[in-house]
Amino acid sequence: MTLATPSFVILGIGFLAPLVLLFLLSWRQSVPGSGLILDQWTTANYTRLLFDAYYFKIFWRTFTIALYATLLSLALGYPIAMAIARSKGRAKAFLLAVVLTPLLTNVVARTLGLMILLGRHGPINNLLVQLGLPRLTLVPGVPGIVIGLTQVFMPFLILSVSSVLENIDPALVEAARSLGCTRFGAFRRVVLPLSVPGIVGGSLFVFLLSFSAFVTPQLLGGGMVVVMTTLIRQQAMVLLNWPFASAVAIVLLLVSIVLVGTYTRALGGAERRESTRVAASSKISSWGRAVQELRRASYDLAASLGRAWTRLARYLRPMRLALGKLRFMVRAGGWGGKALIIAFILAPLPIVIVSSFSGSSLIMFPPRGGFSVRWYVGLLSRPEYIRSFFISLQIAALSVLIGVSTGTLAALALVRYRFPGREVLRTLFLSPLMLPAVLVGLALLRLLAMMGWTATFRGVLIGHLVLVTAYVIRTVSASLVGFDRSLEEASRNLGAGVFRTFRRVTFPLIKPGLIVASIFAFLVSFDETTVSVFITGPGTITLPVRLFSQLEYGLDPTVTAISSILVVIALLALLVADRLLGLEKFSTMR
């Protein structure tokens, strides 16, 4: 228990206390436009949010954007998940790398790539013009946001679905085919229904992330599309209406909690049902039964969809026959489609890097004006960027040092010892990962302001530590769960003391987990943007924040150079991780 104390202090200062503060604040009255907060309690903030048509529209817009992004992720991600589940060896490693790379690179850099890709004079619009079609305004606007969120969060869905698909016994497909199903029929009747848990889990996760995303809608919406998160920032930072911003944040928090709850139940349901069945079939909890019913209902839904399809297919039969003759082309088309999706996942990174070597002062893709390193050279004469780079580096280094040591202790406590409130504590520690970063940033800013720590180095560090600790706890816990404790007992039995046992037995065995945790910790801190946007100030602006604000106000080719640096650093970290441990392991720990 005492092992978890340091982490708990960080969590308390950086997350729990600010959250309570935020909650209290959301019931206060404010004087419009002045930033003053009155000592009076009121429900006005909530009634305004819930009943004012303007705010409801924002809520609804956020909801639909998240929904579209989820559906698009599902449509594009499922085939890739299938490809990952089916492939082996090198092909699998390649696909996993494709999916993981964007997850580990800076979100601002990736969004910049999308801004170039989707822009009015970007490659996509140029292609449309070449085909004789009119230009589309994707960015800034809702379509751009949806595409951007899909690009950013689809990997989560892919990992979720592919892990479920990998656990489907290939013999089931063969059984279906030996009973008369076509290849497609076996997919529709067996694989698809069995992957429903992965689809539900992955979709909920993408929806949650999209709903609470901040950087992507802000940049791809060009500041003109207001969603919940950007509304919070606007209210707090521009209009200084803190109580109202807090109320919006609390509503966002509630939505997230509901989604996270459903998500963990949906994913935990399978194992839970299994274990209860083993324990005693009669003792299935009411919740377990509900999950079972839910799953059954979803299977039924899949079945009825299948029936509808069969009916439809009867009418479409002539067409399908014709298609059958073109099977080769269809299959080639399938591979082409997958290649396009993979290209879509990867595209922003090469686009940014290639653009950064452009000689022209207009950001164009493909770049014009020949090859040049002038934007990198230009960086040297921009001291603010260099300063930010070193601030980011310092904060990341300290976060790794403090976060990994305290987080490992907390993970030991959580995995090794049973004490009352253990589950609650685990959930609390991991919650900063699941809850909207905007909320964490807003709440922390409020507390820091009260403590007079606004825009200080230690303030930013606390914010980063909250997130880093959560990652470390999760990663190290994963490597501790499979740890055979009889090894330690053997060491003690052979005469080694507690500390020698830790040093000679425990530590070497959890070292891979610690290395992964350290790399994660570094990347999480170095790339962190949303929370930092709130809590950094003039002297403490980190590199991603500097990049973010630059992008908000206009495209200057320097940003492509910084983004490229951020991407390359992430790729190097990924390469190191792969060399040390292999990608497969990395993806399961994520």
């Binding site: 016994d169 067996v190 069945r277």
Partner: protein
């Protein structure tokens, strides 16, 4: 009921999957019911495969699992219900239609898998080591059960196993495979009594395989075991030269009265050790020249004998099969 029998890795499952259409032969053809189906996809072959791990659909009830093949064939719901009910009766699972397959025991799952395959009335039923996941007692029970169901439905079945006892009890014909090749095909009695090579002799039942040469003297053919002992043979018309003589342990006796009859060879040896199995025992005897022979004794014949003592083996002249080495 045809049984593919062989040690693991001999290619029997691959052969079965080739019949089902999951493996494509690099050469040769697959014929089913007088039709060449080499290029037919699995779903059009009307073969039903019972998988080693059953491969029951975990998201479906027992009824849905069994009805699957019929639904795919677009049978009307009413006919599906009656067909499923009928087949579940046959395998002894009536009344469990609503159960989830995960809630069932291994034996029950096995029956569901069987019912699911049988209900589509396949032109050939394929079984891939279907009994290997059951405990010993249930396995014996299911052997007779599967056999009787197959008889009553009058369906051709191909059965893969590495268990020779299973093959002998269930099969009408046995195909013995070794290292990717078929080595012998025949009825159970046939392959047991007259193995055509040392591999079969050794794989089905226990055999003593003695190396030596076939010779001929004034009294007729003679087998000289390496190291000296001579065995006189009857009826085994084998050309002279090097050969292997296989003889089953139960064909030999130990001589207690010191009296070999006219039709028996008497081979002296030393009893090295005895493996006692309860209802029977194996005596391991070393012959002159070092070759080992196993002799079986059953029931009341089983007696304790002194180890390292000289002993005489009686070998009937008609026993043993001559194999080319």
């Amino acid at each position: 009921m045809l049984c593919l029998l062989g040690p693991s890795g001999c290619g029997k499952t691959t052969l079965l999957r080739t019949i089902a259409g999951f493996e494509k032969p690099t050469s040769g053809q697959v014929w089913l019911g007088g039709k060449d189906v080499t290029r037919t996809p699995p779903e059009k072959r009307n073969t039903a495969l019972v998988f080693q791990n059953y491969a029951l659909f975990p998201h479906m009830s027992v009824f849905e699992n069994v009805a699957f093949g019929l639904k795919v064939r677009r049978w009307p719901m009413r006919e599906i219900s009656s067909a499923v009910k009928e087949i579940l009766d046959l395998v002894g699972l009536s009344g469990l239609e609503r159960r989830w397959v995960k809630q069932m025991s291994g034996g029950q799952q096995q029956r569901v898998a069987l019912a699911r395959a049988l209900v589509i009335r396949p032109s050939v039923l394929l079984l891939d080591e279907p009994l290997s996941n059951l405990d010993a007692k249930l396995r014996l029970e299911m052997r007779t059960h599967i056999k009787s169901i197959q008889r009553s439905l009058n369906i051709t079945a191909v059965f893969v196993t590495h268990d020779q006892e299973e093959a002998l009890t269930m099969a009408d014909r046995i195909v013995i495979m070794h290292q990717g090749r078929v080595v012998q095909v025949g009825a159970p009695r046939e392959v047991y009594a007259t193995p055509n090579c040392t591999f079969v002799a050794d794989f089905i039942g226990k055999s003593n395989c003695l190396r030596g040469i076939v010779a001929r003297d004034a009294d007729g053919p003679l087998f000289i075991v390496n190291g000296g002992p001579r065995v006189r043979l009857e009826g085994a018309a084998v050309a002279e030269g090097e050969a292997v003589l296989a003889v089953r342990p139960e064909e030999l006796r130990l001589d207690d009265r010191g009296a070999a009859s006219e039709t028996e060879n008497a081979l002296p040896g030393i009893l090295m050790h005895t493996t006692y199995l309860g209802e029977m025992a194996y005596h391991h005897v070393r012959l002159e020249g070092g070759s080992m022979l196993m002799v079986a004794e059953y029931g009341k014949q089983v007696r304790e004998r002194a180890i390292d003592e000289e002993i005489v083996i009686l070998w009937p002249r008609e026993a043993g099969t001559m194999l080319r080495s």
